[in-house]
Amino acid sequence: MAIITLNSISRTYNSKQVPVHALNCIDLSFDEGEFTAIVGPSGSGKTTLLNIVGGLDDPDEGDVVIDETKINALSGNEKIKFRLHHIGFIFQAYNLIPVLTARENVEFILELQGVPKSERKKRSAELLEAVGIPEKADIRPRQLSGGQQQRVAVARALASRPRFVLADEPTANLDSASAENLLAIMQELNQKENTTFIFSTHDERVVKMARRVVTLQDGKIKTDETS
């Protein structure tokens, strides 16, 4: 059953008076529990697509429907609240809060949701255990390796039990071993918690592990293959 539906999505950027068609009439849907890679060359519209699905950007045309909510029709603050409760984000540059420890970074999202302290502690411990770094719970991001930081980011993205996780080039800054570890963890969480994962990536390892690969070119869907 589709949890995300994109209907005729178009997005054009006016860069230096020259319009750039980042997305051109995209129709796409994602089912619950998918592990999908969005691939394509630079400028093909991967990041724009993730931004629009995540409500970080609005399409010029078309609608994004998530669980029957048309998110491009929501106000700025409504979108922020929607993201908090329904969407997890993993960024290429980890983007953890540097002044908080690994555990606090995970708990932060739960606190924004108003989850009680005891529950926050339990969930953060559970997730740090799941991503394999329970011993790093009280360490700040600066003292963690890139791979460890991205694992904390994964734990943070999953903290609120979102309907789906959007990951923008999650392995781009990682060495091979860290990238494979991270992918294995995400795959396990995808299967265990049935969380939908949607990646934008150039990384062949991610593509190989994905069960569905959507290829974009010049803002259009070139291929959409499910293995």
Binding site: I80, K81, R83, N95, V99, E104, E111
Partner: protein
């Protein structure tokens, strides 16, 4: 968590934070120091003025204040009940006359007070300002107490003879010869050169007024702050008199504290205004450095209001740390200098000409310091608004990828 993040954010760039904290610390130290310094100065002048010169309240016959006519005086029966007022602790009836004091060398215009020395000691502390001789404790039949400045002008010393000349109650020129029994020095040179004290019975004899009568009744209260209220109450009870509290007897004294406070607030606001721009600059740098982080916070679900609050909290904490530290250090300095005082004797001539004591004891004013502390917090809040607004204008999709 928001408070924790804001506090820890301050220490992400410790050197920058310490610079702004140091600026606030110095600014607020200066604010507290100068406020208590000026307050001390004003309070001392006020205290000297009220305790040495005017007393808390004076009662005059109706019309005396304007005419200064010797023939306008009060009889004992007019003032019954004053001492019975619960707020009054002591009274001293005075005869007052304006005239000339002449020595063998020269003469000066003066105001002579005829007093009961013991009663006068109860209402004013002039007897404590005697630098030579005694407060009427002398073998002379007509002792006179004069100010040091007048003594210098008339070239008088202890035991010197001085002649007072004035008009009596009939308007006839009269006068008498007196011997200097005591010389006083207050912090107000103008007061010292224009006022002399003699015994009431001597002056009454020369003026031709019964020594039971008086031109003024000086009242000391248990609490000087009550002067206005008590004056109002006494005025209602004493028809045919003018009851004048110290603020009206010497209006410039009444304005002193208000003037001092106004000056202080202007001074502190100028300091905070200058510091406020420094804080704005720092916080703008903070926001610019954290564009990606702010974008991430918006992306993961932190509302714009919370981001705004986070920046405001950070700014308020930063400014409060420096401000409150400065106020605390200022309080320590004030505590010490309220005991030892600051010696400004180098400028004593000019200061005493204006009635100010050259040794200034810093005077604590809790309300003033609390106001300064609140102004620091308010500055923090105001200085945070523009940087916080800049943060709110960021688009999460762009900010999250900022370098």
């Amino acid at each position: 968590m928001l408070i924790k993040i804001a506090w820890r954010n301050i220490w992400r760039s410790p050197v920058r934070s310490w610079i702004i904290i140091a600026a606030l610390l110095v600014g607020m130290f200066a604010g507290v120091f100068s406020s208590t310094f000026i307050n001390g100065w004003m309070v001392q002048r006020l205290r000297d003025g009220v305790e040495t010169e005017t007393g808390h309240i004076q009662i005059f016959p109706d019309g005396y204040q304007n005419s200064r006519e010797v023939s306008l005086y009060m009889k004992p029966g007019q003032l019954t009940g004053v001492l019975e007022h619960s707020a009054a602790s002591a009274t001293s009836p005075r005869l007052i006359v304006r005239g000339m004091a002449a020595s063998a060398e020269t003469a000066r215009g003066i105001v002579a007070y005829g007093v009961d020395p013991d009663a006068e000691k109860q209402v004013l502390n002039l007897h404590e300002k005697i630098v030579e001789g005694t407060w009427f404790d002398s073998p002379y039949s007509r002792p006179i107490i004069i100010g040091q400045k007048l003594a210098e002008q008339l070239e008088l010393k202890l035991k010197s003879r001085v002649v007072l000349r004035f008009q009596d109650v009939e308007g006839t020129l009269t006068g008498g010869s007196f011997r200097v029994a005591g010389i006083f020095r207050t912090s107000n040179t103008a007061f010292d050169e224009g006022h002399v004290w003699v015994k009431k019975e001597t002056l009454s004899e020369l003026l031709g007024i019964s020594s039971q009568n008086c031109h003024s009744l000086v009242i000391r209260l248990n609490d000087a702050e009550q002067a206005m209220n008590v004056a109002g109450e006494l005025q209602a009870e004493l028809p045919g008199t003018e009851v004048v509290p110290w603020k009206e007897l010497s209006p410039e004294l009444g304005y002193l504290t208000e003037l001092g406070n106004t000056y202080l607030y202007i001074f502190v606001i100028i300091i905070l205004l200058a510091l406020g721009f420094g804080i704005i600059n720092t916080m703008l740098m903070v926001v610019l450095e954290r564009v990606r982080e702010i974008g991430m916070l918006m992306s993961v679900g932190m509302t714009r209001w919370r981001i705004f609050l986070m920046i405001v909290l950070e700014t308020v904490m930063l400014s409060s740390t420096g401000g409150l530290l400065g106020i605390f250090l200022g309080m320590i300095a004030v505590w010490r200098l309220s005991i030892t005082g600051i010696d400004l004797s180098v400028w004593s001539t000019g200061l005493t000409e204006m009635g100010f004591n050259p040794i200034v004891y810093l005077e604590w004013d809790a309300a003033l310091v609390l106001s300064i502390a609140l102004l620091v917090v308010a500055t923090g809040v105001l200085a945070s608004l523009y940087p916080a607004w800049k943060a709110l204008k960021l688009k999460p999709s762009e900010a999250v990828r900022a370098i």
